[in-house]
């Protein structure tokens, strides 16, 4: 281990670690790009549908199943499954297969929490608002979603951390991100880049969690109490 540690410092002190297409900054940026894209798509797909279903109070089974199945599907397998199609349809390696897998990974927590949150808005609040003449869409926007915000944010937070962490897998299908030095390093003797990238990814995941915790605290200063 002493070897790997000193290899890592040597690597970090070298030009190769910071410049060029293999440099850590670019790898980090690639990881962030992929994670953002996946979260954006998952959010756009999941929140409207989940909010609507929560509003009409339908689809609990769907929400429960999505989570259960989502937890059971290995992301690694999905990436590998999409790859040949991606190659064949001209989408290339790396980015797109991983994106598909990450979107699938991100949806369940966002979906379930949005659904649960919207659905859990107290019935009398909804009645009062609709009694004031609000129509469904307005209701959603002004009453239900804001009330559900804590849970929605929580769902986003869980998804974001998972996505940021799992984006590392892109490396196994040729996406140049922080996973690349890790996957390559497994097969090589010099473990310096592997160690550096690993620590960086770990920090990234923790940082994402911390960031969302901060956002939650800012946007939703009151602690969520579960309905009982």
């Amino acid at each position: 281990m002493g070897d790997a540690w000193s290899d890592m410092w040597t690597y970090l002190g070298s030009d190769a670690a910071w410049t060029g297409r293999n440099g850590l900054p670019l790898l980090l940026w690639a990881q962030l790009k992929l994670a953002f894209a996946a979260m954006a798509i998952a959010t756009v797909l999941a929140i409207p549908v989940a909010a609507f279903l929560g509003h009409v109070r339908r689809g609990t089974l769907l929400a429960v199943s999505i989570v259960n199945i989502g937890r059971a599907v290995p992301t690694y397998g999905v990436v590998a499954l999409v790859l040949p199609f991606s190659l064949r349809w001209g989408f290339g390696l790396g980015f797109w297969p991983t994106l598909v897998a990450l979107v699938l990974l991100a949806i369940p927590p966002i979906f379930t929490n949005t659904y649960t949150g919207v659905r859990g808005v107290p019935a009398d609040a909804v009645e009062a608002a609709s009694g004031m003449g609000m129509r469904a869409r307005e209701l959603l926007r002004k009453v239900e979603v804001p009330a559900a915000l804590p849970l929605i944010l929580t769902g986003l937070r869980v998804s974001a951390v998972q996505v940021m962490a799992t984006a590392t897998l892109g490396a196994v299908v040729g996406y140049r991100c922080l996973g690349t030095p890790i996957v390559i390093g497994m097969q090589r003797q010099n473990k310096g880049p592997l160690l550096a990238a690993s620590i960086l990814v770990a920090a990234l995941a923790l940082g994402t969690d911390g960031l969302f915790a901060l956002v939650q605290r800012l946007l939703v200063p009151w602690r969520r109490q579960p309905a009982s």
Binding site: L87, G90, G92, G174, V183, I184, Q187, R188, N190
Partner: protein
């Protein structure tokens, strides 16, 4: 309470039931009726690509037919990891390539003459308590391949052409390309071509499809790859002689060779005498295109050459 106990017990049982179903791996060693030799088990290292696995099987089965006990060890990486494995005794035999080996130990020394290269290789190996047995006629170097259509379009038929017209193309190659003298450094040195900015590390087996799908422009193939038989791929000519005498040879630890007198040498030299480039291409074609398993491929080849 009792019910809870049953439930708890069941839960634990479920969790551990699987371990009870574990099976014991049979060791690969099996003698085919000949006298079992007394001596250390031959631990054959296979690297992370198909041809290595096939050759490891060839050595393994040929030796077992002569009464040796063998085991195949997947080293999980490339040459540098392989050397580590030799060092710590996990491996004492491996199929290797003369010129690449020499360049790994002494950068820049390899030539396109196998005898010359071997002459330089042996002393370098001796320093590490290793030795090279007789090389075969089978040569496997890196080749640089493009899609025929693209090569026509860009008028790139050789590596010199690539240096002139293709400096910004993407290269797909195995992860050791950045340190492999017959990959990026070699291109730089011999052709003045620097493709490192657009280099994508890929598993060897993934490269043909990536090239076909247009995800990369230039791919590194093994010169013995089965997929080179396809018209859509064009091998770029190595007009300035970057790629040297990469003959397949058995790399062994001195200790192992000494333990068996000359018997190990004899057995392996017999294999090397039969191995040629065409045969290797045919074996790789079965692996790459037909998807056959290395052990079956090796068994058939050995049977065809009366080595089992």
């Amino acid at each position: 309470m009792k019910r809870q106990h049953i439930v708890a017990g069941l839960t634990v049982l479920i969790l551990f039931a699987a371990t009870a179903c574990g099976d014991d791996d049979d060791t690969d060693a099996s003698s085919s009726g000949n006298e079992q030799r007394e001596g250390p088990t031959v631990l054959i290292g296979a690297q992370e690509f198909g041809e290595s696995a096939i050759l490891a099987e060839v050595y393994s089965q040929a030796l077992e037919a002569q009464g040796f006990q063998t085991d195949i060890v997947e080293v999980g990486g490339f040459r540098d990891v392989l050397f580590d494995s030799f060092d710590n005794g996990d491996v004492n035999l491996a199929p290797e390539y003369v010129a690449s080996e020499l360049n790994f130990l002494q950068e820049g020394s390899a030539t396109s003459d196998v005898d010359e290269s071997l002459g330089l290789l042996q002393p370098a190996l001796e320093e590490r308590d290793l030795t090279a047995l007789e090389p075969s006629a089978a040569v496997d170097t890196n080749t640089f391949v493009m899609l025929t259509d693209q090569s026509d379009e860009l008028s790139i038929a050789s590596l010199s052409d690539l240096a002139e017209n293709g400096a910004d193309l993407t290269l797909g190659a195995p992860p050791d390309c950045e340190e492999n003298a017959f990959c990026l450094p070699g291109l730089q040195q011999v052709y003045g071509l620097d493709l490192s900015a657009n280099f994508t590390p890929l598993e060897l087996d993934l490269i043909p499809d990536s090239l076909e799908g247009g995800a990369i422009d230039v791919g590194v193939f093994l010169s013995t790859s089965g997929r080179l038989t396809e018209d859509q791929f064009t091998v770029l000519e190595d007009d300035q002689g970057l790629l040297a005498a990469d003959n397949v040879f058995p790399l062994a630890s001195q200790e192992l060779v000494d333990a068996y007198g000359g018997d190990l040498d004899t057995a392996l030299n017999a294999v090397s005498a039969e191995l040629d480039t065409e045969g290797l291409i045919a074996m790789n074609a079965r692996y790459d295109i037909d998807g056959d398993d290395p052990d079956q491929i090796a068994a058939d080849w050995l049977a065809d050459h009366d080595l089992t």
